[in-house]
Symmetry: D2
Subunit: 437 residues, 4 copies
Amino acid sequence: MQMQSRMTPRKRSYLDPIHHDIVLDRHDPSDRLIIDLIDTPEFQRLRRIHQLGVSNFTYQGAEGSRFTHSVGVMYIASQLIQFLADRSPEILENRALILATALLHDIGHGPYSHVTEKILGYDHEDWSCRIILGDTGVNKVLSEFDPEFPHWIAGILRKERTPKYITNMVSSQLDCDRFDYLLRDSYLTGTAYGLFALHRILSSLEIDHDNDRIIVAGEKGQTAVEDYLFARYSMYQQVYYHRKNLAARALLSRIIKRARLLKDAVCFIDEPTSKWLSGQHLEVEDFLFLDDQQMTYHIKRWATDSDEILRDLASRFLNRKLFNATKLPWMNIQDVDSIKAKAKSMVAATGLDPDYYVAIETTGLRPYDYYRPNAKSPQTNIMVRTDRGEIVELSSISPTIEALVRGSFDTYWLIYPSEVRDQINEMIDSHLKSAVR
Amino acid sequence: MQMQSRMTPRKRSYLDPIHHDIVLDRHDPSDRLIIDLIDTPEFQRLRRIHQLGVSNFTYQGAEGSRFTHSVGVMYIASQLIQFLADRSPEILENRALILATALLHDIGHGPYSHVTEKILGYDHEDWSCRIILGDTGVNKVLSEFDPEFPHWIAGILRKERTPKYITNMVSSQLDCDRFDYLLRDSYLTGTAYGLFALHRILSSLEIDHDNDRIIVAGEKGQTAVEDYLFARYSMYQQVYYHRKNLAARALLSRIIKRARLLKDAVCFIDEPTSKWLSGQHLEVEDFLFLDDQQMTYHIKRWATDSDEILRDLASRFLNRKLFNATKLPWMNIQDVDSIKAKAKSMVAATGLDPDYYVAIETTGLRPYDYYRPNAKSPQTNIMVRTDRGEIVELSSISPTIEALVRGSFDTYWLIYPSEVRDQINEMIDSHLKSAVR
Amino acid sequence: MQMQSRMTPRKRSYLDPIHHDIVLDRHDPSDRLIIDLIDTPEFQRLRRIHQLGVSNFTYQGAEGSRFTHSVGVMYIASQLIQFLADRSPEILENRALILATALLHDIGHGPYSHVTEKILGYDHEDWSCRIILGDTGVNKVLSEFDPEFPHWIAGILRKERTPKYITNMVSSQLDCDRFDYLLRDSYLTGTAYGLFALHRILSSLEIDHDNDRIIVAGEKGQTAVEDYLFARYSMYQQVYYHRKNLAARALLSRIIKRARLLKDAVCFIDEPTSKWLSGQHLEVEDFLFLDDQQMTYHIKRWATDSDEILRDLASRFLNRKLFNATKLPWMNIQDVDSIKAKAKSMVAATGLDPDYYVAIETTGLRPYDYYRPNAKSPQTNIMVRTDRGEIVELSSISPTIEALVRGSFDTYWLIYPSEVRDQINEMIDSHLKSAVR
Amino acid sequence: MQMQSRMTPRKRSYLDPIHHDIVLDRHDPSDRLIIDLIDTPEFQRLRRIHQLGVSNFTYQGAEGSRFTHSVGVMYIASQLIQFLADRSPEILENRALILATALLHDIGHGPYSHVTEKILGYDHEDWSCRIILGDTGVNKVLSEFDPEFPHWIAGILRKERTPKYITNMVSSQLDCDRFDYLLRDSYLTGTAYGLFALHRILSSLEIDHDNDRIIVAGEKGQTAVEDYLFARYSMYQQVYYHRKNLAARALLSRIIKRARLLKDAVCFIDEPTSKWLSGQHLEVEDFLFLDDQQMTYHIKRWATDSDEILRDLASRFLNRKLFNATKLPWMNIQDVDSIKAKAKSMVAATGLDPDYYVAIETTGLRPYDYYRPNAKSPQTNIMVRTDRGEIVELSSISPTIEALVRGSFDTYWLIYPSEVRDQINEMIDSHLKSAVR
């Protein structure tokens, strides 16, 4: 008895505010795999990447990392497996594969995730695959468990593998990733918008063996699924697309744009950052050095750079002197371009460089979409089994969801420094009046 | 100092799980009025009427009373007054009136509220007015405060009084009543569906002085309002319209129907109950004796009545042997009638009286509707001020809400005893097949 | 597929605000037993008995029933079994027995539970045993499952049976009953006092096979157990012993005292109530008719009785005109008696009958006590396994808990009508001064 | 109307998960001061310092910053002012001073706060004063509001100023700092331990004008205060003193120790960090560059340093290969020294440098202490007003709190690499046995 408490404990607990004790058991091979993956340097690196980028500028509690989120996704996946196994016990054979994929789905994120992804033109899923397939701790752990695992997991992340229920679980419009981030972001931001009945959804899901083994929601979960989609819609409207968040992201991308232009002329830049910004080939090892902390450290140094633009932008970022963001009442690209041009002149007149101080951001999430074969990235349908046993696409039986599909959500935002706020707004007003005429 | 702690304390706290300490101050005349109203026998009676009728048969925690809900509505109204007073300080002159109306809006509810209202054909708002205007403690307290108050409050409950913001606050599609019950019912049932961002809504509301002094939601509250409407929709779908809840309500109404028929032939009936069931004129005093506990006491006695039907129905209710409820896949009244007739024959064949063991229930809430002048009870629009200052009706700018307005939500349910479940379902299936042909 | 959704569903869910979905599976024999027990009239009756007696007069949300609490205790027991089974799989053989005992532990409660228990001199555990052993639905369900079960369960409730871990789980200082009621009462009253880390405690408990198979807490649960004991202490101080709660209980017991004296001379009394109050022999069937609703119905009738005392007391209760309660600064019984005598004279002088309008209530819970062999009801120790493997009694290693054991908590309260508050307080003050001299 | 929505909005909201909308009003001078202080670079820097140091290694959600905590403390102070003003309206004159002090109390924290404070021998309160008094944005904002403010605030932080209630509010055993961090840390770690009834405490506090204007708790808040002290005790036991947290802190201090020794020989060190580690005089500007991100950036670089010890320690930290921590069953310093010496030999035998791989950590918080005039840092008593009006020190009337004062809580922990765990534990066991003999 006495001895036992000193051995490596059999259970490992991850203490999480959303899911409470996430307990893994070293005697269970899948759990053991997950523990080993969490212990790799590549996964520990996710502690240094914020889940919500710069949202903490608007919702101050948004300070969580992709590490906790990723553990949460894995946990929800493990719960969902338990529910599905009730009717489809064969899923248990894929438990290790599903949990590992759920855990690793974000492993390829870079500094400030989506912001840098966009401006530097890379895709975090490619990097996830490179890390999983490369000479890394993650690859080693996976290969030792099963030599096929790295390729299988990369295949799932690229949506190329069957059975379909695995992709449904980790990468679809009703997946464990979204389940976790909505609940977690709601919790950390302190908003009620993202809350939904997770347990009710999980317990209503089942694998449809007549239909390519996709996941369908039972009738008793339909309202919960609708509520979840609405929660996602609300979180985008209120949190992710908060105007100050758009402004902060625009500022960050302007900093990177400027630093790229100056390249090694900046006062401080370390090697991996230099390679990354200048678009040179990055080894996996270089990429793994990049994270929010390396980026912020550079910005802190740049706040005393001799280049006036870089110095000013970096200071604004550090000290939260954010730009302004105004929603444009037009959808018409000509109007938007004309407004942007006028804004640039106004900013130029104050002595600021309009290329770094004016921007257009676009937002527009369709909270749910059905499969459109010709879309750029066609979505997987959410399928529901009605109480009379038919399997149908959700929006076909739910008037509220049908509206989400039909709605047009695209919006343009003008970003500019607060110094010119009054002028900008007058300009928009007069443009608006002339348009009406 | 010592003495002070023994005097009647200046502050009165109502300790509430939703709003925490609701503190009233005897030195403030409006607060004092509210304390005195809460202390009347008529208001204390609300402790004996369930807020959610028989929902505790499905959601076991739904055991709260109209007393706590009513105090909660008053509290939310007091918070909203504080927000509105920021821009419209003149609202403070109406504080006592608004709080009293919010507190008393449900004072006229009878046993198991909406269920008996329907079968016995009375309206709780009429009784609210009778109690407020009659020879009651409530009337006395109100009249002493201001002789006009009873009439004013009755006028507001009948939606006949201005300023419009008062009616908006206590009886509209965005009122303090709904705010409280959604949050409270979510809390007690333990569901996430009814949660929404109350504080965000309250802080975004304002009185529009250009527009008849109605209440409008500022742009920053729009998503929260949409989320609230969706919360209401979800609560109806999941909680209030739960199939077992419909079945329990049908059972209760059958018990009343039977007892009315038998009248004083039943083994036990007290005077106010006898008058009430037989449709005789009820004095206010009689009505105030009626509550869930008086009703349940009768049902307990009736569970040993010599009338077989009454005895059986009463026992089913007490022991939660509820009927079954099946959603009918038709909207067509001919189909519904035909199904009902067939179900009655099946039930009759088992020896049960079909008039008491078969029923059709209809559900169908449009979570939000705009003002339709020709509707039976036209709704008050929810108005929003856009970020460019226009006042518009919500569904005109929100695609999701527009869908809620457009959607058709009416549904028919067949209620029957579980003894005939298999037969009933086969019958519905075959009807369905022949309909398709 | 289609058919399946219409059969009796395999899973039964009890939707609970504390534990969320409590799911039982008809294919599992123990779960099936629990479903059948819940469906008995005796268990459904618990819906009509408040968990917290008259506490809703002070904490308005305290409106829950013993039904929901009992289901909650059963659920926590099922979770604890799962944890214990990890190391002691043999516990699974007793799963049905433990769950049934946990579910039924309160089945013998009468109207307003502890209040009437005290004044009428009966013990709810005796009635629990009579119901379990008598000719009841509960007995039938249990006997069909296993003819020994009724006797075994009665034996456990009387603490006469081994293995000891069963008694520890359902009736000890660290049992599932207390776990549930602290969390539930905290939730319903909206206080933070009763919250503690249930999951942490459950996961730290184990059966000590060297020690008569008692339950011990592992070292990692020690702080959580201390926190739980402190939570219990706080709940007693703030909620259960709230002065207005003591006053309400005193009032209720005075009503019963008066009705017993008048016996059938009261305006209304039904047969079981008459038997009960007059101390005649009650059949199980009579007892089962008694509940909070039957009691309240009588009080409502008595509020118009011709006996002035009964009428006044009943009205005070219905309309929440509660007595006052003052904590006496003495522990000395002579002082208390003298104060009580003086208070009686004062009350008599106002024309009220002091036997019904003055009372002494005593409170005093030792939140935890170690086993004292000579105590009236000796407590079972809470045992802890230290990180070096020894099993010790909690207070021997925890200075904070040792204090709880040592502390003296008994307090006397004087109960009297608010009409004489000032006089009473002056009298206590002058008594206090003379005592100091 | 239209224009208004574009001007700088009058209200500024900080959206916080603990306190929800913290709304400041630019038209109120104190609120305006707070907004301006929050906008300074020195305060924004707190976003880059974790509130809980390295606790996220054990409780993964512990990722919040001192920024959010500081805003929270200010908010609680503003609420407390409102409560106190009810009886002591003169406190409103000091509102700006109190809020500013509450906001700035942590402004002088360095990287990983308490860990580096200890090893580098500085005190964050000194730095708070230097920042407040130096040539900084904070100083400028304060001086413009009132030239005396910098000195006054520094005086309060050094506990040298009256009225006493101000110090009580921001720096005592019952202060707004502790209120916020217990609730916030509970929330982020997801533990129930730190929850307590904040509102109940705040509403029970009052200024005692007979007693040097200290703050005392009214009788109705006593249980809540006890519960709060117990919450603090539990949080220390479970979270702050978690064994893996002690191990992480020991590792971090070893990294700093090694880097200091190597000084500029390390592969990378920037100027402020170099000055700081080598103990050179730091200007305020240098200090402000230091934060968790600068520290972590260095550790990342050091993980590839040529010095083997630094490289290994840095890698362990980044990849969460933490040391082990074992609680020593002795309080005797001789025993502890002897154990430490033996552990060092064992570690040396494995080739690791014992000066960097073995450590003793001590823990020991007395959750509450009364004023002991000869103590190193004497504590301010928590005073309570009893229900008969006397003002007494808490432990004198509360047996549970008296125990907290009396208890001995000091504990020694041995820290060592997991490679030698088995040997270390055997050694401790045999030492334990020989000690018993």
